[in-house]
């Protein structure tokens, strides 16, 4: 190390480096991480700093950013003011992205498992050795169990499209996404009501009811910022949540609703709006189908009835219904994002969609929008067809209306464990961590033990990577070239973003595009990847050359113009070509055509319902080990109300045991009034098995270990709020 650099190091930096060195030498050459952590003479001299556009990847939002780069080292990440979707902002997690890049815990070269699965014994391989081994396994499993005997799972990422393309060329249609652990039932509900998943115009909305969603912590751009701006314009926010979240703290009204009863609340809202004729009559007549059936259906769901179910006073339900209707069409039930909660989560979201339809907020300012979206071109591949493949996905038929191209992690996992209807013996995961995000971790482990071969491509040694046989290191989002990605952005309309390497890729990391291309070559499938990411982008940009110019000059392409009033006179993409208050397809399939309320199970004495959620500084399990963010939360704790805590003789910060039928964890208690007495909560992303995550290993508990794996009946989405737990002193 040059003398000048050593002299400029502070004691703190030295300690940071020493820690980094100790952690990194165990696995690889840490030089470039250390270099990045070192102060350089003349640091932050504007003349030496280059600004490079990129898109954040600390969560799924892809906010525009500008990296401050000095001598191939990123010093800082700033927001891109031209990024309208992110309102020119970058959150704390976005700022911490630099620590994802310069993380001593990063995977550095290909690793092959040497000990038992999950034992953590690895052997370093060259890329050629690793790829040859993976190709051999893909080939063998394909021949022995058909191509569908190999499962693919890619997370939300701009390169996931290449994993899907590889699966298609290889011949497996067993492809699942992270989404069946997240939002599929919400999408199912809105698609089956509106024919499309609209985006909410929170910015111009005068009255927002937010059931469950925690938009000030579980950040969605632009909604999180827009909600704050709307608040400044005196819009009203009503939050229903068993927890006192930051969103609840900012709300005009917070109701700690009894978990699992949101549908009762919205059916009662519909009851009042219809009974008092507060709905948009012209809209309902022209744009919806099944209103008369709905009118009859909701007669039974009175506010008095809903009070008993929800713990929300009937007078408030009535008042909120009237206020909501008075503010319409700039009023909404916020559709939310993650909906992996109950076994009837699609029907719960149908009740949100139906109330929105009564308000007539479709395609109107402050309502639910479908803005004009840029449609980049694509590169088609003529994938071969393998005649010996089974007729359908391995999880087919396990849910009433599963999305064919998304599948269900829960049902696929069950099928792999059962070996029915056919065996799956291989699994490739890319940038997704079902060991932490899929309820019932023991079952995920059981599934993995059924496999002959599992490979994981990721940035760090996640718990999923920890269980794999072959682990391949990927570059972070700041080191790779990605295809274009088009996005919707509510009232700001939509746009396109992309990424080029801000700094060269560190260690031996290789993008998943390169990995699947190399695998394809080895499997005689090279013709399907006979292109570069540049070629792919050219195909995407062919008909939209203006996008290339904007990306170069501004780092983002924004579609301007109004985002409402775009669909007047156009039919809805539903069977009836209208908004389906009554869904005939559901009826034909034996599904309730309108949401029918079923009481959640009664919580027995000494039991609690455990719920899943987020805070603003972690993205599930992807960022808990990030050293900057970890300073904000070193371990998760179980939120428990003081009343039951006192009954159980549990003190704040005391170590406790949380137990369900799925598993048992040890964790510290956070005794707080910020949750209902019958509901407990813990953050996701702790209690890891992987010793490759040095900050969080041994800290807190894994919520996936105690969550039971129920599923939404219609979509197959995981249902994670159905679990009841006991809590006791350790």
């Amino acid at each position: 190390m040059p003398e000048t650099k050593t002299k400029m190091m502070s004691r703190r930096k030295f300690l940071q480096m020493s820690g980094a060195l100790a952690a990194a030498t165990a696995v690889a050459d840490p030089c470039r991480v250390l270099y990045a952590l070192t102060k350089v003479a003349g640091e932050n001299d504007p003349a030496r700093i280059k600004e490079v556009f990129s898109a954040c990847d600390m969560c799924f939002n892809k906010c525009g950013l500008i990296a401050q780069v000095e001598n191939n080292v990123i010093r800082k990440l700033d927001p891109n003011p031209k990024s309208l979707k992110s309102r020119g902002m970058l959150c704390a997690r976005g700022n911490a992205g630099v620590k994802q890049l310069y993380d001593p815990d990063r995977l550095k070269y290909p690793l092959l498992r040497k000990g038992a699965r999950g034992e953590g014994k690895w052997m370093r391989l060259t890329w050629d050795q690793a790829l040859d081994h993976a190709a051999e396994q893909l080939d063998r499993i394909g021949k022995e169990y058909t191509r569908c005997g190999f499962l693919f799972m890619a997370g939300t990422d701009m390169q996931s499209t290449f994993v899907h393309q590889f699966a298609e060329a290889y011949g497996s249609y067993n492809v699942i996404s992270h989404e069946s652990n997240c939002l599929l039932s919400r999408n199912r509900a809105f698609l089956d009501t509106y024919g499309v998943m609209p985006t909410p115009d929170v910015l111009n909305c005068k009255y927002v009811i937010m059931p469950g969603a925690n938009r000030f912590e579980a950040i969605v751009t632009p909604d999180s910022m827009d909600l704050m701006s709307a608040k400044a314009k005196k819009s009203k926010l009503v939050v229903l949540d068993p927890r006192f979240t930051k969103t609840a703290a900012f709300a005009d009204e917070w109701y700690p609703i009894k978990p699992g009863t949101d549908m009762a609340f919205f059916l009662a809202i519909a009851h009042v709006i219809i009974a008092e004729e507060l709905y948009d009559k012209t809209f309902v007549k022209e744009m919806t189908s099944g209103f008369e059936e709905l009118r009859e259906h909701v007669k039974q769901y009175t506010p008095q009835w809903a009070q008993v179910e929800t713990d929300i006073p009937a007078r408030d339900i009535k008042r909120i219904a009237r206020e909501l209707a008075a503010a319409a069409p700039s009023a909404m039930v916020y559709p939310g994002r993650r909906s992996s909660d109950y076994e009837d989560s699609t029907q719960i979201r149908r009740s949100y969609a139906i109330v929105n339809a009564l308000l007539g907020n479709w395609d109107r300012e402050g309502g639910l929008l479908v803005p004009k979206k840029v449609k980049p071109g694509s590169m088609h591949i003529e994938a071969p067809f393998y005649e010996d493949n089974p007729d359908d996905r391995v999880d087919a038929g396990r849910a009433q209306m599963m999305f064919d191209e998304e599948g269900s992690f829960k049902h696929t996992r069950d099928a792999v464990i059962e070996g029915k209807p056919y065996p799956i013996k291989g699994w490739m995961t890319y940038k997704t961590n079902p060991m932490q995000t899929g309820a019932n971790r023991d079952k995920t482990i059981e599934m993995i033990h059924k496999l002959d071969f599992m490979m994981t491509v990721d940035i760090a040694m996640s718990d999923t990577a920890w269980m794999a046989d072959l682990v391949l290191p990927a570059p972070s989002y700041l080191e790779r070239q990605d295809p274009l990605s088009a996005f919707l952005a509510s009232s700001t309309c939509s746009g396109v973003i992309t990424r080029d390497p801000v700094v060269p890729a560190m260690f031996e990391s290789k993008p998943v595009f390169w990995i699947v291309k190399e695998l394809a070559k080895r499997l005689d499938l090279g013709e399907f990847f006979d292109f570069t990411v540049d070629d792919f982008r050219k195909a995407q940009l062919k008909k939209i050359p203006e996008v290339a110019k904007a990306l170069k000059e501004d780092g983002v392409y924004n579609v301007s113009g109004p985002s409402f009033g775009l669909h007047k006179g156009k039919p809805f993409k539903t069977r009836s070509k209208k908004i389906e208050l009554y869904n005939t397809r559901y009826r034909d399939k034996g599904i309730d055509p309108m949401p029918v309320y079923n009481k959640p199970k009664v919580i027995p004495k000494n039991y609690f319902r455990i719920v899943v959620g987020r805070n603003a500084y972690i993205t599930q399990s992807a960022s808990t080990n990030n050293s900057l963010l970890w300073e904000l939360e070193k371990e998760n704790k179980l939120w428990i109300h003081p009343k039951p805590a006192a009954n159980l003789n549990i003190n704040d910060n005391e170590t406790i045991i949380v137990k369900s039928s799925a598993g048992k964890v040890t964790i510290k208690a956070r005794v707080t009034k910020e949750t209902r007495p019958d509901t407990v909560y813990m953050d996701t992303g702790y209690g890891v098995l992987s010793k490759g995550l040095t900050n969080i290993f041994g800290k807190g508990a894994c919520i996936a270990e105690v969550l039971e794996d129920k599923a939404d009946k219609i979509s197959g989405n995981m249902a994670m709020h159905e679990t009841l737990v006991t809590v006791s002193k350790a």
Binding site: Y173, L191, E382, F385, D391, M402, F403
Partner: protein
């Protein structure tokens, strides 16, 4: 005589096709249909192709049903006549099953 036989053959082919698709809702393999659609249809029905760009989401299920109720009305009826009943049924299953208003609309690829 040869001319008559050819006409008869064409008529028979149309009959086979129309019988095939009438029954198409049952038992077609949509995955095979996707492959066949790409192989046989997309060479023309693509961006900058010789026919209108098509994918399952170009039409509703009801619209696809109308198309497949009488394939002989299509401009490319001769190409359809060359396909087997099973192949036709598979393509129908793919297009109908992933239509614009279907429960699982095809994603753009």
């Amino acid at each position: 005589m040869v001319k008559r036989l050819s006409i008869l053959a064409i008529v028979m082919a149309f009959l086979v096709v129309s019988i095939g698709v009438t029954m198409a809702g049952e038992g077609g393999n949509a995955r095979k249909g996707k492959y066949l659609f790409r192989k046989t249809c997309r060479s023309c029905h693509m961006a900058d192709g010789s026919a209108k760009e098509l994918s399952p989401v170009s039409k509703t299920q009801a619209d696809w049903q109308v198309v497949f109720d009488d394939i002989s009305k299509l401009q490319c009826k001769d190409e359809w006549a060359a396909l087997s009943e099973k192949d036709t049924k598979d393509i129908y299953s793919y297009l109908y099953g992933h239509a614009f208003d279907s429960p699982s609309p095809a994603k753009c690829k």
